[in-house]
């Protein structure tokens, strides 16, 4: 019942073939070029050798199967889809690696950025393939063949083999490219004959439907197109008809556009070489202002930027400037960079400056009061800390940390632990000496004769066995002193009760 409702509009003879035909005769519709990367999963794994049998494996339903093989392995009769145990039986010294979808995606995005040089409209929806809308670029490149060969060269230069097919339907292009047919079809009417030879398996239907099609003697797409649509839907479901119509260009396929993540990069060449900060800093301020405009436009902020000072005949001086919270004000980064550059001794005069952004982050606006002052004190404080860090170095700002350790020197160093105050009741000094200092014991008056024994850390290299006392020296300072259990005659000063 459902299927009948779904196909009812498809049967309407008025609405169906009109759209592509009119688009074709008056203004040519879009032309989709698909660049399919059959070996992408293998190419992104640099560990696989080329001169020995190698394969990429993928675990499907708990079973490791071959996903892609190299030429050498194909010689042994290995093909994608073979279980790994069977592959080892055929070729015992097979080199294998697990498939890495993350890296494949990265490679595909890199290739998509390459492809953006050929058209503004690229989609990654039919991975591992790129879909490019190239109708608008044909005139510029001088035809589809030239454009395709340029694109193939460009993709090959980045180390990936591609099969390209171009048709007015994105789905048809993908089917052809996936099946290794480097075809070019300019008009919708020619699509059926170009695709007719493809086996039914190309549609990527589930295993059961595919077997039923084969049993019915429907091996190719041409066989399917010959049958009445109503009967096809009744026997094999709407999904088959949907795919057939997409392939024939009768049904539009929604695709998402790939957008390259925005990244700022600007360079300013100085009129003359200089090593005076006062002369080249205005150029940096100019670039920062442009960066700020760029960020405002995209409603984004930045937590890190890169600055390069170029010299003649020398590698450039590079600086990385971070910020504790996302910022986009030119003045903030300007202050931080000025502070750092003021303390930097340059090896050579600067001839150009370059500012580039690291990853952009969404901007969280800070509430300001009526007079435009920064009302968010916490944000302002973070800016101040950034400024201190820029001038004093990254190691200068130290938070106080607490750790659950009985050894006094380890209770306040390392990474902080989220825990309550240590429950030791014995006195602890407010000042601790970073390194205990030997003291002559004759000058001391011990005021807490009952020692506190700290014996801990035998499990690592910094074990201690000490008796701690509280004493005063002759100038009146209250000291925290100890002696080692092994050497009771020597006293060390470890803290002061400030």
């Amino acid at each position: 019942m459902l299927a009948e409702i779904a196909i009812a509009p498809l049967w309407n003879p008025d609405s169906l073939p009109d759209v592509p035909r009119s688009a074709c005769s008056e203004s040519p519709g879009p032309l989709w070029l698909c660049a399919h990367f059959p070996d992408l999963s293998r190419e992104v794994l640099a560990v696989l050798p080329a001169d020995r049998p190698a394969a990429v494996i993928e675990t499907v339903k708990g079973r490791p199967l071959l996903h892609a093989t190299n030429l050498c392995a194909s010689g042994y009769g290995l093909a994608p889809g073979l279980p790994l145990s069977a592959a080892y039986a055929l070729c015992p010294d097979l080199v294998i690696a697990e498939r890495d979808p993350g890296r494949e995606r990265q490679a595909l995005e890199r290739l998509a950025r390459c492809a953006l040089g050929f058209t503004p409209w690229v989609s990654l929806d039919l991975a591992p393939a790129l879909l490019l809308e190239v109708r608008g670029s044909l005139k510029l490149f001088g035809g589809l063949e030239v454009l395709t060969s340029h694109l193939m060269d460009r993709l090959a230069a980045s180390g990936h083999r591609a099969v390209c097919a171009a048709t007015p339907s994105p789905y048809a292009s993908a089917l052809l490219a996936r099946w290794g047919r480097a075809a070019a079809v300019e008009h919708v009417e020619a699509l059926r004959s170009a695709l007719g030879d493809l086996p039914g398996a190309a549609l990527g239907l589930d295993e059961r439907t595919h077997e039923r099609l084969l049993k019915a003697g429907l091996a190719t797409l041409r066989d399917l197109w010959r049958l009445p649509r109503e009967g096809l839907v009744r026997r094999y479901g709407t999904e088959l008809l949907l795919r057939l119509d997409r392939a024939a260009g009768l049904l539009a396929m929604p695709l998402r556009e790939f957008r390259s993540p925005p990244c700022f990069h600007a360079r300013f060449e100085l009129p003359s070489e200089t090593d005076r900060l006062a002369y080249f800093f205005p150029a940096i301020e100019l670039l920062l202002q442009r960066l700020s405009d760029f960020l405002h436009e995209r409603d984004a902020g930045l937590t890190r930027l890169h600055l390069a000072l170029e010299h003649r005949d020398r590698p450039p001086t590079r600086l990385k400037q971070g910020s504790r919270r996302p910022e986009r004000a030119a003045a903030h980064f300007g202050r931080l960079l000025h502070e750092r550059l003021g303390r930097l001794s340059l090896s050579a005069p600067v001839c150009a400056v370059e500012v580039s952004s690291a990853a952009l982050v969404p901007w969280a606006a800070v509430a300001t009061d009526l007079f435009g002052q920064c009302a968010d004190e916490a944000a302002d404080w973070q800016q101040l800390l950034d400024q201190l860090e820029a001038r004093l170095g990254p190691q200068a700002l130290k938070p106080l940390v607490l750790r659950a350790d009985h050894r006094p020197e380890l209770a306040c160093s390392g990474t902080a632990q989220a825990l309550a105050i240590p429950s030791v009741l014995a006195p602890r000094p407010l000042w601790l000496l970073a390194r205990p200092r030997p003291v002559p014991c004759g000058e001391l008056a011990v005021i807490r004769p009952q020692p506190e024994r700290i014996e801990s850390g035998w499990w690592d290299a910094a074990g201690i066995r000490r008796d701690y006392h509280v004493a005063t020296d002759r100038r009146g300072a209250k000291l925290w002193i100890y002696r080692e259990l092994e050497r009771p005659d020597r006293w060390y000063l470890h803290g002061l009760f400030g």
């Binding site: 001038r391 200068a396 938070p399 602890r428 209250k478 000291l479």
Partner: protein, 205 residues
């Protein structure tokens, strides 16, 4: 010529009246020690101000003297900053004294007076800072003046810990500490808006 003596004394700031004058009124925060509050003009630590503390040696209770004020500033959500302290502020002891370690910052400066004063001025000027402490070897009067102005602008307290000798000062308060039997002797050497020379013995340290 009918000049009211009382109004003249009240309005003309050039006339200084020793001990008997009216109590100075300026914002203070309590020092946490009743005896010390009675001694200090205004009844506590002057709040946007620079305070100098002279001690013959570290470890006689100079930090304990400030702990109640630190606790109060921490409770108000303000930061405690230690600029180049002579030893390591010991986190477990500070935590046990009720300080908020998440709002405590140690600024480590390797032996540069310029950087020390620059950082201190920046921090004092920021209202998020509550108490900024430094341990200088010597201070130029002009630096003191700048720090005093920065503290007034940010509404913060700056504390400078000195050794025994120190020259003239523009700080709002100068105290001298000495170890005493069972505690600490605090002597007021200079205080803005009040009579000086008093001493008090506190049971801290």
């Amino acid at each position: 010529m009918n000049v009211d003596l009382e109004s003249l004394l009240r309005t003309d700031r050039r006339i200084w009246r020793g001990k008997g004058g009216p109590k100075a009124s300026f914002p203070v925060i309590t020092s946490g020690f009743a005896e010390l509050d009675r001694l200090l003009p205004g009844g506590g630590w002057p709040c946007p101000a620079l305070i100098e503390i002279l001690a013959p040696v570290w470890g006689i209770g100079e930090l304990s003297l400030l702990l109640p004020a630190m606790r109060q500033l921490n409770r108000d959500g303000r930061w405690l900053v230690w600029i180049a302290p002579p030893f390591v502020p010991y986190a477990p002891a500070l935590a046990r004294q009720g300080l908020d370690l998440r709002r405590t910052l140690v600024v480590d400066i390797p032996d540069s007076d310029t950087d020390r004063w620059w950082s201190m001025e920046k921090l004092l000027r920021h209202p998020g800072a509550g108490l900024v402490m430094a341990w200088p070897r010597r201070v130029q009067p002009v630096v003191l003046r700048r720090l005093q102005l920065a503290a007034e602008e940010g509404g913060t307290i700056g504390v400078l810990f000195h050794g025994q000798h120190a020259g003239s000062t523009v700080a709002a308060l100068r105290l001298a500490l000495a170890p005493a039997e069972g505690g600490l002797e605090v002597r007021v050497l200079k205080a803005r808006g009040g009579w000086v020379g008093g001493a008090v013995r506190l049971g801290v340290g």
